[in-house]
């Protein structure tokens, strides 16, 4: 037909994703350090980016990042995992039990295995039976602490150095320090120069006394990103989380990919638990809600690994630095950084037309500045609430930019489409 040839097919216009060139990222990071440096010099809060503070931040951030990665894997396959906290608890127990007897790496392995079992339980209940994901997660969070404390009382009470609620101490995995670089950077850091000392402090924090498990965590984030977005397995796994019935119609075994996802998710949660134990000991209540902070980091990062890692870094920073900095000045100065970030958000949101959101951000920024000027230090209880408040804020202000996997939390039945 001739009429057909006249139909003009307009190619679908894709909104170009704003991906900045590496040089631009470098510029942003440099500008960020410069701002932090200015705030440090102005307020005199050296622990804002001292090497010790950075080390404390890394130690606090790694379990959060692993928990976030755990959530990312399962939610990308459409299984909401509220039970990360419980699986982490199982991980702490496994690491404690094996760790004190056969060394830290055995502890890590058993922690991962215990987490994996938790993930399998979640898979059995949500995928095979088809129970609501959140209910299953809540149940796991009830079961895990009871089970571990029961076993702890039986197995650790009579162990040398153990107790009713704690295992014997466990030795640490290897830690890496770059020998001469660390000292040299330390000298520069002590000078207190603008920018240079800050950069030295941050690099020193990353190259001094760095746990092998922290490196493993970083590798896992990179590898996860690669698998999920660059391999066939990852594509199928994500398709199961976006449109399971479409995936099914193309011959993808949805059950299998969902199971793979929850097993990896459980293992990562177990690893997060093991990270807390290795070098210390198993203690009842050790996870302290980090599983939920990990979930928050994942949402903060819009269900993407690097965004999640940034969230984990931010939350780990507030947690680690406030514990490290006994004077409390660092967190006080941090208020200015939060205010500046919110002002940037306000400007960006205003330019993209979200005037109300911009106004709310500006008001909160003003509140932070007022809080900074009216007080000398922040109460530590409120600093601990920061990760949760920030996540709530992000969800409230930027929810139009957040997009979770489309079939996340929905129950899949074979052939039920």
């Amino acid at each position: 037909m001739s009429a057909d040839s006249e139909v003009v097919v307009t190619p679908p216009t894709y909104k170009a994703r704003r991906s900045l060139p590496p040089a631009a990222w470098l510029g942003i990071v440099a500008a960020g350090i410069a701002v932090v440096s200015l705030v440090r010099i102005w307020t005199g809060a050296d622990n804002l980016d001292s090497s010790g503070a950075i080390q404390a931040a890394i130690t606090a951030a790694v379990p959060i990042a692993l928990a976030g990665l755990s959530g990312l894997w399962s939610e990308r396959a459409g299984v909401v995992n509220i039970g990360i906290e419980g699986m982490m608890i199982l991980g702490t127990f496994g690491a404690g039990y094996a760790g004190y007897q056969w060394g830290p790496w055995a502890g890590v392995f058993f922690g991962v295995v215990c987490g994996l079992l938790g993930g399998l339980l979640l898979g059995l209940v949500t995928i095979t039976v088809g129970v609501d994901h959140i209910i299953a997660g809540v149940a796991i969070n009830i079961l895990a602490p009871g089970l571990t404390l029961y076993l702890s009382r039986l197995l650790f009470t009579d162990a040398p150095g153990g107790g009713q609620r704690q295992s014997p101490p466990i030795s640490d995995v290897g830690r890496i320090t770059l020998p001469w670089l660390s000292d040299w950077l330390g000298e520069i850091e002590d000078k207190g120069w603008f920018f240079v000392s800050d950069l030295a402090g941050i690099i020193r924090g990353f190259t001094t006394n760095l746990s092998l498990l922290s490196i493993l965590a970083a590798v896992l984030i990179v590898v996860s990103t690669f698998i999920l977005w660059r391999t066939r397995l990852g594509l199928r796994l994500r398709s199961v989380g976006e449109a399971p019935y479409a995936a099914e119609s193309l011959g993808v075994n949805v059950f299998r990919y969902k199971y793979i996802a929850v097993m990896i998710s459980g293992s990562l949660a177990g690893l997060a638990g093991a990270f807390l134990v290795v070098g210390l000991k198993f203690q009842d209540g050790q996870t302290g809600g980090r599983g939920f902070i990990g979930l928050a980091a994942m949402i903060f990062g819009n269900w993407r690994p690097y965004g999640m890692a940034m969230g984990a870094g931010l939350f780990g920073y507030t947690d680690g630095v406030q514990q490290y900095d006994s004077s409390g000045t660092a967190m006080h100065a941090f208020l200015i950084l939060v205010a500046l970030a919110l002002i940037a958000v306000a400007i960006l949101q205003y330019r993209s037309g979200h005037k109300i959101v911009a106004a709310v951000a500006a008001v909160i920024a003003a509140f932070c500045l007022w809080w900074f000027s009216a007080t000398d230090e922040l109460p530590q209880q409120l600093v601990k609430a920061a990760p949760y408040a920030i996540t709530l804020l992000v969800m409230a202000l930027a929810s139009q930019n957040l997009r979770m996997p489309k079939a996340d939390g929905l129950i899949y039945r074979k052939g039920g489409g």
């Binding site: 509220i82 602490p145 209880q381 949760y388 709530l392």
Partner: protein, 372 residues
């Protein structure tokens, strides 16, 4: 249709009973593996109830759990998952305790003091839940995530306010809100032979339960809640404003959550909110609402079961078994009951399909018989 009615009750009871039996089996296995005698353990747990003190403690506890379960169930009825009951009741109990402990309250008549305390608690609970409702309605934020965040924030706000610099007083080694003076609490019922009294606020749970049942079954509002829960599109089509329902259900849920701490505050011996105030009841409420299927009477049974298990835990220590065995049982009961409900639901669908097939087949054979 007496046959189908008895079948319904039988199927309804099958799941929870099956779950309890399953949890007994699993924990028996765990006991045997860890070198204990299951009969000894369960025997010790049952014989704990020979003491009236333990029974009364369980009833008091069940009343508290029931309030939490109703708070959760109100949300569940319309597919809202209020995980935030935990934060709501702790913040509410703390602020209500502060108000009840202020000195100007002492000059007021007793009933007014109780009323003010209860109203403050309900208002705080509703307000804290209201944040999640507002975020959901205006910004589409999932109430599951926002209430998890709000729980944690509530924990730290309570910790912040519960310092001598803020609202608390130092009482020996314990930090607590100022004690409620004489007349600000409600009387308790003492029994001979028991150091534990019966809380008068068990009555509050009964009243809340009756109101919950009546609102759900007898009012337009209750109908709208159920309709929205079953099918949001159908609800919208019949003129129900879903946003309005979300806000009101969440506020109600929060208000009931605010009451959870009241039996302990107004009947308890400490008469204040302190570091020892019970935590985690919000999550217990979720479990009890699930076990009782959000049914006003079903939740009474599950609350009693839960509290009974809790009270028998101490007896386990006597025979050398860690008390956490009870927590494990509770965890397994929740997990297996939701699994069992799912299977019962599917089995019911199969039975219904059979009934329909039978009903459709019957006139056909009749017609065939007449023609023949």
């Amino acid at each position: 249709m007496t046959g189908s009615r008895s079948r319904r009750i039988l199927l309804g009871a099958a799941a929870p009973i099956g779950a309890i039996i399953f949890s007994l089996l699993v924990t028996s296995l765990l006991l045997i593996v860890t070198g204990h005698n299951p009969f000894e353990a369960f025997g010790a747990m049952t014989s704990a109830f020979e003491r009236i003190r333990v029974v009364l403690g369980a009833v008091n506890q069940a009343a508290v759990y029931y309030l939490a379960a109703v708070a959760v169930a109100i949300g569940f009825k319309m597919n809202l998952f209020n995980i935030g009951v935990d934060g709501q009741y702790r913040l509410a109990a703390m602020l209500a305790a502060v108000v009840a402990g202020t000195s100007w309250m002492s000059s007021l008549p007793g009933f007014l003091r109780i009323a003010i305390t209860l109203i403050v608690a309900m208002a705080v609970g509703a307000a804290w839940a209201g944040i999640a409702a507002l975020l959901k309605v205006t910004r589409g934020v999932s109430e599951v995530i926002s209430t998890i965040m709000l729980n944690a924030i509530a924990t730290f706000i309570v910790a912040y306010l519960l310092t001598p610099q803020m609202l608390a007083v130092l009482d020996g080694n314990n930090i607590s809100t100022p004690k409620i003076t004489e007349g600000g609490q409600l009387p308790v019922v003492s029994f001979t032979g028991s150091t534990t009294p019966l809380y008068s606020l068990v009555l509050l749970s009964i009243i809340v339960g009756i109101i919950y049942a009546l609102v759900l079954s007898r009012t337009v509002f209750g109908f709208s809640i159920k309709a929205t829960g079953m099918s949001e599109t159908a609800a919208v089509a019949s003129g129900i404003s879903v946003n309005k329902m979300i806000i009101s259900a969440m506020l109600l849920s929060g208000a009931v959550a605010g009451l959870v701490g009241m039996p302990e505050l107004l009947n308890g011996s400490s008469a204040s909110y302190s570091l020892n105030f019970p935590t985690g009841i919000g999550f217990t409420g979720i479990a009890i609402a699930l076990l009782g299927r959000n049914h006003p009477v079903g939740m009474v049974f599950s609350a009693l079961l839960w509290a009974g298990l809790d009270s028998s835990a101490n007896a386990l220590q006597g025979v050398g078994i860690p008390r956490e065995l009870v927590t494990i049982m509770q965890g397994i009961i929740v997990l297996s009951v939701v699994v069992a409900y799912e299977y019962v639901r599917r089995y019911r669908l199969v039975l219904e399909a059979k009934d329909v097939a039978k009903a459709l087949a019957a006139p056909k054979t009749g017609a065939a018989a007449t023609t023949a």
